[in-house]
């Protein structure tokens, strides 16, 4: 029997499949993975600290840069935390528009997930199809707020401007397109034998591991835990909509993919209901020009695309937050990478990484 040595392969921070600047130190025995250690911090910008020297309104654009493929959800989380702190009542129409934007952004973010996953599996074609559809949503954001990715549309007290007729019509058109879109994905990837062979039964996260790591979002739901902040907290207007939480069975790569596909469907369902029952009225509450929340602290969590995104804000009564802490789902979810990769092959590490779907802007914050 030949003697072989284990060796460490540095994947990243410059690697085609690390979705940004993550470094994974993969310990390999041949092509088999013994351990995978994520090394973070390459994209650290000190957002929490920066926020301490900005007024509350100035903080909102920073949240765009956290998870830059679902900026609306981050805006929502921060704004709701400040609203909780300052006891601001948001008009109903604004709540509805927020839900539409957040869910559209969730779909767009899942497009990025599908695109990068298929690309990591070696099919660049898949990526183009997903990004083609994501473009439709980004164009809608362009209509509503002038920005495609870093939206900064949801503001403290409401939204920046009322949703135009053009946007609402476009959103409706997109919702009508969703079934055809999902059908096309099924035909391109979901039904593909190679795709299935690489996804099914690989990189399993058990229910216990997922709970132990404090994972959230589609990742924990794929492991069979029915955990969705939208249902639990019913924040904003989410209590008024009827939707299901898709749950996986065994927590393998395949489940994490399927759960996200079904989530697209549910998001479309929510947007449809919001569009149908859209109330009239103002979209911005009466928020003082210089916002001075009372002394105290507030924590608010929202269901980001990647899981539970929480903002903890401490106010000392001045115009600037005394301390902001962000609970970033990607950071927590990424901790499962080591366990997922053990015993798998090098190619599976890439798939595992893609199905956790971490975003380095959020991991490093």
């Amino acid at each position: 029997m030949a003697q072989t040595e284990k060796y460490v392969l540095n994947m990243g921070p410059q690697h085609p499949s690390t979705h940004g600047v993550l470094q994974v130190q993969v310990e390999l025995d041949g092509e088999k993975i013994v351990g995978a250690k994520p090394v973070m911090g390459y994209l650290h910008r000190g957002i929490e600290k920066l926020m301490e020297s900005r007024t509350y309104a100035q903080c909102v654009p920073y949240t765009d840069r956290l998870d830059y493929v679902s900026a609306m959800n981050n805006n929502l989380g921060f704004c709701m935390a400040v609203e909780k702190l300052a006891a601001i009542e948001v008009p109903e129409r604004a709540e509805y528009i927020r839900v539409i934007c957040a869910e559209l952004n969730r779909i767009a973010s899942h497009h990025v997930f599908i695109g990068s996953l298929t690309n990591d599996l070696g099919s660049a074609t898949g990526m183009i199809y997903a990004f083609r559809d994501r473009e439709k949503i980004l164009d809608l954001f362009n209509i509503i707020c002038g920005a495609r990715m870093t939206a900064h549309y949801i503001r403290i007290g409401g939204v920046a401007a009322d949703a135009q007729e053009e946007f609402l019509r476009g959103a409706q058109e997109f919702i009508d397109y969703v079934p055809a879109m999902l059908d096309e994905y099924d035909r391109i990837f979901t039904g593909n034998e190679i795709f299935q062979a690489r996804m099914q039964g690989t990189s399993i996260i058990t229910r216990e591991t997922a709970l132990k790591h404090g994972m959230s979002g589609p990742n924990i739901r794929a492991s069979g835990v029915d955990y969705d902040i939208r249902k639990i907290d019913k924040y904003g207007a989410y209590g008024k909509f009827d939707f299901e939480i898709p749950v996986g069975k065994q927590g393998d790569n395949w489940d994490r993919y399927i759960v996200r596909l079904k989530e697209i469907q549910q998001s479309a369902n929510i947007i449809q209901q919001a569009l149908d029952n859209m109330p009239e009225g103002p979209v911005m509450a009466k928020v003082p020009k210089v916002l001075r929340p009372p002394k105290g602290d507030a924590y608010h969590r929202v269901e980001n695309t990647r899981g539970e995104l929480g903002f903890y804000i401490v106010s000392d009564g001045s115009t600037k937050p005394y301390r902001v802490h962000i609970r970033r789902p990607s950071f927590v979810n990424l901790q499962a990478l080591d366990g997922m990769c053990q015993g798998m092959l090098l190619a599976d590490a890439v798939t595992a990484f893609a199905t956790i779907d971490p975003l380095m802007g959020e991991v490093d914050c």
């Binding site: 990591d120 070696g122 099919s123 074609t125 183009i128 199809y129 690489r198």
Partner: protein
Amino acid sequence: MHSGIIYSAAQGLREVLMSLVGIPIIVDIIMTIICASILLVIMATSALVFTLGERKICAFIQVRIGPNRVGPGGLLQSVADMLKLMDKEDIVPKGIDKWLWVLSPILLLVPSALIYAFFPFDDGVILADVNVGLFLLIAITSQTVLPFLMGGYASNSKYSLIGGMRTVAQMLGYEVPMVFALMGIVMLTGSLKMSAIVEAQSNVWFIVLQPLAFLIYIVTALVESNRPPFNLVEGESEIIAGPFTEYTGMRWALFFLAEFSNLMCIGILTTTLFLGGWHGPDFLPGFCWFWIKTFICVLFYQWVGWTFPRLRIDTMLSFGWKVLLPVALINVLLTGVGIYIYNIM
């Protein structure tokens, strides 16, 4: 006797040379040099054409437009790419095994260029119609594994090394079923001579008589030429570019050239071995049919490549050894039985 425009032209050229020089062996040498140069030009230009073709086809599959800026309709894109590659800095990484590293891309081109000598392009148009043509072809194509391993080993990079080792594993796993699949053709023809194999298909193509072998050949050919979904050697999402991760500029371009040359080779081989070579209805000359079929084959391989995700190394190897090899052996058995029954009847 042979017919066809190219054959007559070559015959005319030979007569002219004969009257000028008068010594048969020198005429032979001159003819060979001319043919070899033509083949090399074909190979080089086809790489340029196929780069553009590949990008356009891939763009069509991916609902994009593709290159359309350089020249009319983007026709000059590959020329621009080539100029860009020549202009690039020649980076030689530290800690490499210099000789192996430098030789690897050059040696890779040798088998790719060499096999063009054994392709029958038209009736009687073949540079070296040797008795063991098919055998030589397989022997030469399997040499491509060595430069890959050399590049992988010499680059002093783990990604390259993994890629190099993968090449060896997949060559071992897929060369064997391919040889057994082609055995069926040899049994039907009774010869390893390339011209004889094409001649035997004048009435019925081997795709009809050897459907199993055809399917096996398609898969193994994709592996042989590192085309997706079997491009594990360069699986860009895992090991960046495998053995040629550390190469830049023209050195990298040589790998690229070899890849496209290999793509055309498998197209030509599929045509020659299974689709009747230059045979076709009389309204077009033989070499036209040959190129039409070749282009259709290449198009097919590109279509497959741009549609499927990549396989994983373990699934791929077990598929080669556990599925393709037994099926190839069964094919040999079935062919033998078929020939036996045909002979008694």
